[in-house]
Amino acid sequence: MLKIESKNVNFNYGDFQALHDISISMKENTVTALIGPSGCGKSTYLRLLNRMNDLIDNTHMNGTILIDGQDIYDKNTNVDSLRKNVGMVFQKPNPFPKTIFENVAYGLRVNGVTDKKEIEERVITSIEQVALWDEVKDKLKKSAFELSGGQQQRLCIARALAIQPSILLMDEPTSALDPISTSKVEELIYELKNKYTIVIVTHNMQQAGRVSDNTAFFYMGKLIEYDKTKTIFTKPTIKQTEDYITGRFG
């Protein structure tokens, strides 16, 4: 089933057109990797999916993006509930300056969950989901800043999962992490695929190869090629894709 459908999406920062006519569809419970050199528009596209670009002044989007068949840029779309459904994990781990527990509970609280027991259960479930429970169970009341970078990033994933989204956007989630933490996050992505539709922006080719089902190659604001990850990495049809993947530029 199609989860995300973009049709002829254009996006401008002021006079600069960052995305040209992007049409791309993603199936439910798949991992899609967005790759391409810096400034190619992959992060911009990712941020359209939860309307994070709305926060930037003087931008303009046209085209259609459907999630579960609903136009998310329709006037009647409630942006808060869209973002509740489309979770996001950022490049740098960015836990709030709150306790480990409160970091995960925050999303529940702002979404109107008040029952203490329910909050507690969902916080624990989410922390378990990201395989962090054993490491933090004795220090839930401690500041999240006491965790290592890798642990913080998994906590941020737990924070996103707690409010039960169906889509998870990841913007270079491992670029600030060491190799061991990176592989933990990658394993996690692999497991989360069963329950979530994941879109991940990455600069790391191997990572795209390891975690994703499909890969989209962006270049200068255009979608150059989109196919099964295997196909993209073994026999890309377009020369630019091949050059990028083999490291000839980018």
Partner: protein, 292 residues
């Protein structure tokens, strides 16, 4: 080889000169501060006594204490902060979190900066015509406090704005990304992170308010009023004005000279204590932000 050594020597020399200059200026500033402080302390410490800070002025302000002026200054600080702090903080939040970049924001910013450049005596005049006359508060702590509040509003706005700007955008995005509204994001994530720095604005404004003379001249300050205010609609004495009075137009300026230094010392001590208090507050909240 020798050319290289020569270059290295030259580099070292210019570095030493630059560093020497920086060190000298910073020490000079500290030294100057100490000289001023020492001057006031030496001249003023003699009159400081329990009587001096707890009694009414007597004998044409040549004897007795400055208790009503201390109380008056504290009242003015309180009233001005109760007004300027919430208004300034809310204005800064509006400006930094809500208004989009554009003409409106530029205009508000420019106006705030202009407000900061208005001479304090003009604030006094404005306060007199608006609060004392038009709004009918009369010469009162309320009128004086509000005038002082207006004066420090730009400081509060600017420091709050800077503290909000220093909050990394990814905190906002993370919160909004969880479906939080803008207000929830601002009040539950952004402002608590900025709060310890916002307190800096409070410190600066308290110092400014307790020392300003011109704005209270026509709005609250009493020349001689040997009783404590009973409400915010009363006139009051204030330390800086009292200092001015007994140094320039008292009944016997020579006789009250020592008291003038004593008054200055008390004023400095009050500012110092409020700074220390606010610093402690900032440290406390700084810790709390990380823990909560």
């Amino acid at each position: 080889m020798s050319a290289e050594i020569k270059l290295a020597k030259k580099k070292k020399r210019s570095q030493n000169i630059a560093f020497g200059l920086f060190t000298l200026t910073s020490y000079a500033i500290v030294a100057l501060l100490f000289v001023i402080l020492a001057f006031i302390v030496i001249k003023g410490i003699g009159v400081i006594s329990w009587e001096f800070i707890s009694e009414m002025p007597k004998n044409g302000m040549t004897e007795g204490g400055i208790f009503p002026a201390i109380v008056g200054t504290l009242c003015l600080v309180l009233v001005s902060m109760v007004f300027a702090f919430p208004v300034g903080v809310l204005a800064a939040i509006y400006m930094n979190e809500y208004v989009k970049d554009g003409i409106l924001k530029k205009i508000i910013k420019q106006m705030t900066n202009n407000l900061a450049g208005v001479p304090s005596i003009v604030f006094g005049l404005f306060g007199m015509s608006l609060f004392v006359n038009k709004m009918g508060f009369g010469d009162s702590i309320l009128a004086g406090g509000l005038t002082l509040g207006l004066l420090v509003l730009p400081i509060v706005i600017r420091t709050t704005e800077e503290s909000l700007k220093a909050v990394d955008d990814t905190f906002r995005q993370a919160s909004l990304g969880l479906g939080a509204s803008k207000w929830e994001t601002t009040s539950k994530v952004v402002f608590p992170i900025a709060f310890p720095n916002v307190i800096t604005g409070l410190i600066l404004s308290i110092g400014r308010v307790s020392g300003e003379t011109a704005p209270i001249l026509f709005t609250v300050a009493a020349y001689f009023l040997p009783k404590l205010p009973t409400s915010i609609f009363d006139q009051a004495m204030a330390l800086p004005y009292h200092l001015y009075v007994i140094s320039t137009s008292g009944t016997n300026i020579e006789a009250s000279r020592a008291m003038a230094y004593g008054t200055a010392l008390v004023l400095i001590i009050i500012v110092l204590i409020s700074n220390l208090l606010a610093n402690a507050l900032r440290k406390y909240y700084g810790k709390k932000v990380k823990m909560n």
